[in-house]
């Protein structure tokens, strides 16, 4: 087996929706334990990029992908089952989307689908993942109540706990704070900084400041192409491409 050099290595990735090209010839590596942020205006292809990493893009019936994505050196299309990939690569969506179940059942959903029935194992996973997402103290006494009753910020941290329970490798965040107030946003960002010790994080955001605050490296996407990729500090202080500097100084988007 080839020794992996990166968590994700992406070569020649293009995505079409029907005839419309949404991602064009993407080549990049994502390192283990970094926070890799993607910024760009609406329709720049950044969410599509994220959905390629766990193959949620397959749900768009008219989509066509070409190129190759390897996770730890294994092709995510030919080399593993899609269910296994999605357990390894969890995603937090833009809106908090708890399932209409209890807090507890939301968290163990993925494990139950794997066929895990052992109650102590499930209990243990619930506590661990809620602690990791800093929600345990707030909800430990009402695990059996409906997840829909939590506040927006709590729901979003529940969605984080829900993927952490399955012991993933990579966490994908798709504009995770776009619907939240500043305090909840700060909490989520803090949580991410801690989580990167154990996980690789890919964060798509349209909040440029957020990328500057948490990102190790940042990529700028525009109309389906990656314009620039560099260390976050460099991208924000000395962008190589004029379109990047236009975007981060707010000239468009």
């Amino acid at each position: 087996m080839v020794k992996p050099t990166a968590k994700f290595s992406i070569r020649g990735l293009s995505v079409h929706y029907g005839r419309h090209c949404v991602l064009r010839d993407l080549n990049l590596d994502i390192q283990a334990n970094e926070i890799f942020t993607v910024i760009g205006p609406a329709n720049s292809g950044k969410s599509t990029f994220l959905n390629c990493l766990n193959r949620l893009v397959d749900l768009v019936s008219a989509s066509r992908c070409s190129g190759e994505i390897r996770l730890d050196g294994i092709d995510i299309r030919g080399g593993m089952e899609v269910e296994a990939l999605r357990r390894k690569v969890g995603i937090v969506f833009a809106l908090p989307l708890p399932l209409p179940l209890s807090i507890y059942e939301n968290i163990v959903y993925g494990m139950r689908m794997q066929g895990i029935r052992d109650a102590t194992l499930l209990d243990e996973a619930v506590e661990r993942s809620l602690r990791e997402s800093y929600l345990w103290e707030e909800v430990k006494d009402r695990l059996r109540t409906a997840a829909m009753n939590l506040s927006g910020g709590q729901q979003q941290r529940l969605c984080m706990a829900r993927i952490l329970a399955g012991r993933p490798d990579v966490l994908l965040f798709d504009e995770p704070t776009s619907g939240l107030d500043p305090i909840s946003t700060a909490k989520i960002e803090e949580t991410m900084m801690v989580l990167k010790e154990k996980y690789t994080i890919v964060l798509v955001t349209n909040n440029v400041a957020q990328a500057a605050r948490v990102g190790d490296r940042t990529a700028f996407f525009l109309m389906g192409e990656m314009v620039e990729l560099s260390d976050t500090s460099k991208l924000f202080t000395a962008p190589a491409d004029s379109r990047t500097s236009d975007y981060i100084t707010g000239k468009f988007g």
Binding site: N54, L59, P100
Partner: protein, 281 residues
């Protein structure tokens, strides 16, 4: 004409029209209850007919209808719900799914007496089930299939798309997603369709005319290969074929049939409105 006056007249005409559609339900109910209630008794509901059906009860007809309806549901619900799952969850908008949808529309439009012919041709004759509960149930089952598919489809489509995306993103397989994150939320709608199907199957006469219904049987059916009496056919028989039956027996039979069907429909309406009130998303 003055537009205000025109509006007044138009509203009055439309209100009259609406009452003409809705009031007959009440009128029919009132007539049947008023003239049939006196026939209803324990004996009428739970004993066999006597003296050439002019006396005694209608128990075999009630029981037969229950058997037929049960059989139809056992056949049509699994098939219909799975077909709806296929249309909503598995098919994309291609020629085949359009063909399936068109077929369902046409199944819904086929006259009930043609279902009767079909049942006679395929179940009674071709499969040699004879005129039997099995043939009648299957015929009724195919007839109510569109009702079940249509309501199950609507129920599945009303489940938000993100339930599916979230479930899949957590590593659930396609079927697990349907089984655990879609079907439970579509259940009330599926149940509504099932009850409507029950009501329809209970009231139909033409499909069972040549496939199962018996004019008169001295004993109850013992197996699915036996013929049976059935309420709607019994009402038809005693109101057109057998002279000299007391009027209140006819109305009483109509009352039992109507109550059965309307109660089922009322139940469906209640399930649906409760479900709409409780929806959380």
């Amino acid at each position: 004409m003055n537009p205000r006056l025109a509006q007044k007249i138009a509203h009055a005409v439309m209100l009259t029209a609406t009452l003409l559609v809705v009031l007959p339900v009440l009128v029919i109910l009132v007539i049947i209850v008023a003239k049939g209630a006196s026939a209803i008794s324990w004996d009428f509901l739970f004993s066999m007919p006597r003296d050439g059906m002019t006396a005694g009860g209608i128990f075999p007809a009630i029981l037969g209808t229950l058997y037929l309806v049960l059989g139809a549901i056992l056949f049509a619900v699994p098939l219909g719900v799975l077909a709806a799952v296929y249309l909503v969850e598995y098919s994309s908008d291609n020629w085949f799914s359009r063909l399936v949808k068109l077929s369902i529309v046409n199944l819904a439009g086929v006259p009930s007496v043609v279902y009767g012919l079909f049942g006679l041709g395929i179940f009674v004759t071709f499969f040699r089930f004879g005129a039997s509960i099995l043939s009648g149930s299957l015929t009724l089952g195919i007839m109510i299939l569109p009702v079940i598919i249509t309501s199950a489809r609507e129920a599945l489509e009303s489940v938000p798309r993100h339930f599916r995306v979230v479930s899949l993103s957590l590593g659930a397989s396609r079927w697990q997603t349907i089984r655990h994150s879609v079907l439970p939320h579509a259940l009330p709608g599926i149940l509504t369709g099932m009850i409507l199907g029950l009501g329809r199957a209970a009231g139909e006469t033409a499909p069972i005319l040549f496939t199962v219904a018996a004019f008169y049987l001295p004993r109850l059916p013992h197996s699915v290969f036996d013929q049976t009496m059935a309420l709607p056919y019994h009402l038809y028989v005693i109101s057109t074929q057998v002279p000299g039956i007391a009027e209140n027996v006819r109305y009483g039979t109509a009352l039992v049939l109507l109550s059965l069907v309307l109660l089922l429909n009322l139940a469906a309406i209640l399930v649906r409105s409760r479900f709409r009130g409780k929806k959380k998303w």
